[in-house]
């Protein structure tokens, strides 16, 4: 069976989803301490709703994002507030947050909770519940879900897309949610359908999840309102614009939110969090994370409490077989590598990989051979090598004209370049420079 994909560029990167795709998820051990950052990389200490020494329950609101009405941040474990401090996050930013030391009993986990009858709840209240429960986009963007819903409900008609593409290589956390929680995902989609009132709903699933999502597929049998599309396992198929291109054959501009064009896209993990928030009244306190790589003793799909330090989940997977070359957080193509093992897991992180040198295929930068691979692979249709040369010569205005600002930072150009020229990095720095000073960018 040949599955659809976007029209231009893309790559099928070396991939090893098979390593973890059939591993059932399990709960990670509860860490001794967690650091829970404020929502939106909080810059203000005053956003905390607790003070040092306070005892908090599991799921208790401990901070807000300062907006009106606020999106709340909840305690992922019961415990005592040890500190309110700043810490570095995986994207390099520094955020205020609450450090909790584990103490007390669980009030949400392992207890029977009454389910909410969401069918009889009005859409406005449902959006409010999602806000109170602190649900944010878990595909990596971290935008409060209620904001997205408010914008979308202002539209009279539109299309809802559930994104289960997970096109980042090696990553399988979304696949496991689809395999293990099909009923819950279905309810999550129905809740969104009720809130938005859109008639057309599409679920886009990576074709490599075909076997593991049979149960999910069967649920939608004979349903006219929800269509399932298996799309080709091409990176970056999960990008919003490429998803719309594949499903609706439409190209949307990069400088405009897709909601303005009547499309609303939710990651499948977010849909599950919406289900938990609305039906189980469970705030966003944990998420599924794929931990893989040849240096990991036992690759796993772990349900990790928000704020758990990186070292704790590596220990949970049996530790490391050997000293890895690098530890990657977030994704191989767009994620970051870190030395800081105290880094807290946030709601946006679904992937951790401890890589051996052999898995990276890194090499010193050599001269461009004009092979044109970067040009053929760019899903946006840019010419990265040309943009690089313009950036190096400080011709950022010309680079802008040639599409510099449309770069989606997918990293494909750097991935495919046989000369290992850091094209993506230079282009991203050029974008920043173009917005600021317009200075030439050095190749480094």
């Amino acid at each position: 069976m040949r599955h659809k994909t976007f029209f231009w560029g893309g790559v099928v990167p070396r991939n090893n989803k098979q390593k973890t795709i059939n591993l059932s998820s399990r709960n990670a051990e509860i860490p001794r301490t967690v650091f829970i950052p404020f929502q939106g990389n909080g810059q203000d200490q005053a956003l905390a709703l607790v003070k040092v020494g306070d005892k908090v329950k599991e799921g208790q609101a401990i901070a807000s994002n300062g907006a009106k009405p606020p999106v709340l941040v909840h305690a992922s474990i019961p415990g005592v507030v040890k500190d309110i401090r700043q810490a570095k996050l995986f994207d390099g930013t520094v955020s205020w947050g609450v450090e909790l030391e584990f103490e007390g009993d669980f009030t949400l986990t392992g207890t029977s909770v009454s389910t909410r009858d969401w069918h009889s709840t009005n859409p406005e209240r449902l959006i409010d519940i999602i806000r109170e429960m602190g649900v944010i986009g878990m595909g990596g963007e971290g935008v409060p879900t209620y904001e997205k819903l408010l914008k979308a409900t202002a539209k009279k008609t539109g299309r809802l897309i559930v994104n289960a593409m997970e096109s980042e290589p090696y990553r399988t956390s979304d696949a496991r949610i689809l395999a293990e929680k099909p009923q819950e995902i279905l309810q999550g989609i129905e809740i969104l359908a009720k809130i938005l009132g859109f008639p057309a709903i599409k679920v886009a699933i990576n074709e490599s999840f075909l076997d593991s999502t049979k149960g999910f597929r069967d649920l939608f049998h004979r349903r006219q309102d929800i269509q399932i599309h298996y799309l080709h396992d091409t990176y970056p198929q999960g990008d919003e614009r490429l998803l719309i291109q594949s499903l609706f054959a439409r190209d949307l501009p990069t400088d405009d939110n897709v909601i303005n064009h009547n499309f609303v896209i939710f990651n499948v993990s977010t849909v599950f969090a919406i289900y938990e928030a609305v039906v189980l009244s469970r705030p966003l306190i944990d998420r599924l994370v794929t931990i893989t790589g040849s240096a990991i003793q036992t690759p796993s799909n772990l349900k990790v409490r928000i704020g758990t330090p990186l070292s704790a989940i590596l220990e949970d997977c049996g530790g490391l077989k050997f000293v890895p070359d690098r530890i990657v957080v977030g994704g191989l193509m767009r994620g970051t590598s870190t030395r800081d093992l105290d880094l807290p897991i946030t709601a946006e992180i679904g992937f951790v990989m401890a890589m051996a040198k052999e898995e990276i295929h890194d090499a010193p930068v050599s001269d461009c051979t004009r092979c044109g691979k970067c040009v053929r692979s760019c899903p946006v249709g840019l010419e990265p090598i040309r943009l690089l040369r313009l950036a190096q010569h400080g011709q950022l205005e010309q680079a802008r004209k040639e599409g510099l600002m449309e770069c989606s930072a997918c990293g494909i150009c750097s991935y495919v370049c046989p000369a290992h020229i850091p094209l993506g990095n230079v282009i991203m720095r050029s974008k920043a420079n173009a917005l600021e000073k317009g200075e030439p960018v050095e190749l480094k």
Binding site: S311, F322, R339, H361, A363, R370
Partner: protein, 371 residues
């Protein structure tokens, strides 16, 4: 070795590497790319040695040795280890493909030195106005047009002696008189077809062409099968085509430039190819011009290979159309078997213009909204 708990890696460790995304790369590298293309080039060259004998082997050896030694010298001078990346070897092979088998040996040597030196002077294969191979071929063709058209008949293996004699005579006394390059096509067309050619032509005529009231003249099968009077690497159209398909399959070559070249040359030769022979408009013999020149070598091996053509698909198509057009004009009105190579040399100058004029446009730019 079973490790080592995680907490042994302190937070400020320097063991782990930190890098910008992406965190891993495809297993392609320049070295692999160059050796793959070199492997492809060896196939027509191997056939060339079989057909033309030791003279072809000598030309290949001189081209490759010249390129490697120059690379070694330049890499020492610039203190940059580059000999192992296979680029010099590839340049040597490509030059050998374009050399006539009976050429005096100082010509490929100087071409190889010029190609590699130009690569270093311009700062890499992708940085100069000319591709190094085009540049070197252009220099030796302009300097020694007589020697560069010293073609031989297949299986005329006596030439190994002659190559040395020719080189010595040319360099010492300089009194060698060779064929005028403008007589090339005429010279080739008088070469005797092989027995295989005659048999296949006759079978095709009685079986296929008779039905359409046309005749395939003798001498057209040889260049396809592999006995063409050609450059070292261009004797077999079939091998060139198979190598080209393999290169396209391995994504080392594009199809747009060869297609564009074929299309434009076919059209122009068909329309105007009959004029020099007094046959009138739309009476051109496309097969004659294509098979009796270096057209197939350029179309299958040079035009599409990445690094020689523009880097985007539209540019490659335009580049192919331009090369085909110039080839056809030079072939029709110049009657020179090397016309397609000359056309490739000329259109190579326009690559940077084509790249700027026919560049890709962002698919997600605001103006492209198709609501």
């Amino acid at each position: 070795m079973h490790w080592k708990r995680v907490n042994q890696l302190s937070s400020n460790n320097t063991i782990l590497r930190v890098s910008v995304p992406p965190q891993y790369f495809s297993d392609d590298n320049v070295r692999k790319l160059n050796w793959s293309i070199s492997f492809a080039f060896m196939i027509p060259l191997g056939w060339g040695v079989f057909v033309f004998g030791m003279s072809a082997a000598l030309v290949i050896a001189v081209c490759v040795a010249g390129a490697l030694l120059t690379e070694l010298f330049c890499s020492r001078m610039f203190r940059k280890a580059s000999i192992g990346d296979g680029q010099a070897f590839q340049i040597g092979l490509l030059l050998a493909i374009l050399m006539p088998p009976g050429v005096a040996l100082h010509v490929p040597l100087i071409a190889a030195i010029a190609a590699v030196a130009s690569k270093w002077v311009f700062g890499g294969t992708a940085s100069g106005l000319f591709n190094p191979v085009c540049f070197a071929w252009g220099i030796v063709f302009l300097a020694w047009p007589d020697l560069m058209t010293a073609f031989v008949n297949p299986f005329d293996h006596s030439l190994v002696q002659d190559s040395f004699t020719l080189t010595r005579q040319y360099l010492v006394s300089g009194n060698v008189v060779l064929a005028n390059p403008m007589d090339m096509i005429q010279g080739i067309s008088t070469a005797l077809p092989s027995a295989l050619d005659l048999q296949v032509s006759s079978a095709l005529n009685s079986g296929v062409f008779q039905t359409f009231a046309t005749v395939l003249p003798p001498g057209y099968v040889d260049p396809i099968v592999g006995f063409g009077v050609q450059t070292v690497g261009g004797a077999s159209g079939l091998i060139l085509m198979l190598v080209s398909i393999w290169l396209m399959y391995r994504e080392l070559s594009g199809w747009q430039a060869p297609l564009g070249m074929f299309f434009s040359a076919f059209l122009i030769i068909y329309l105007f190819g009959g004029l020099p022979f007094g046959m009138g408009f739309a009476r051109g013999d496309v097969l004659f011009f294509v098979f009796k020149s270096t057209f197939l070598t350029v179309m299958f091996l040079l035009a599409g290979v990445y690094g020689l053509a523009p880097f985007n698909a539209r540019g490659q198509l335009v580049f192919g159309l331009l090369t085909g057009t110039i080839s056809a004009i030079l072939l029709i009105f110049g009657l020179n078997m090397f016309a397609p190579l000359g056309a490739f040399f000329v259109s190579g100058l326009t690559v940077w213009v084509i790249e700027r004029t026919f560049r890709n446009r962002s698919r997600f730019a605001t103006k492209l909204v198709n609501q």
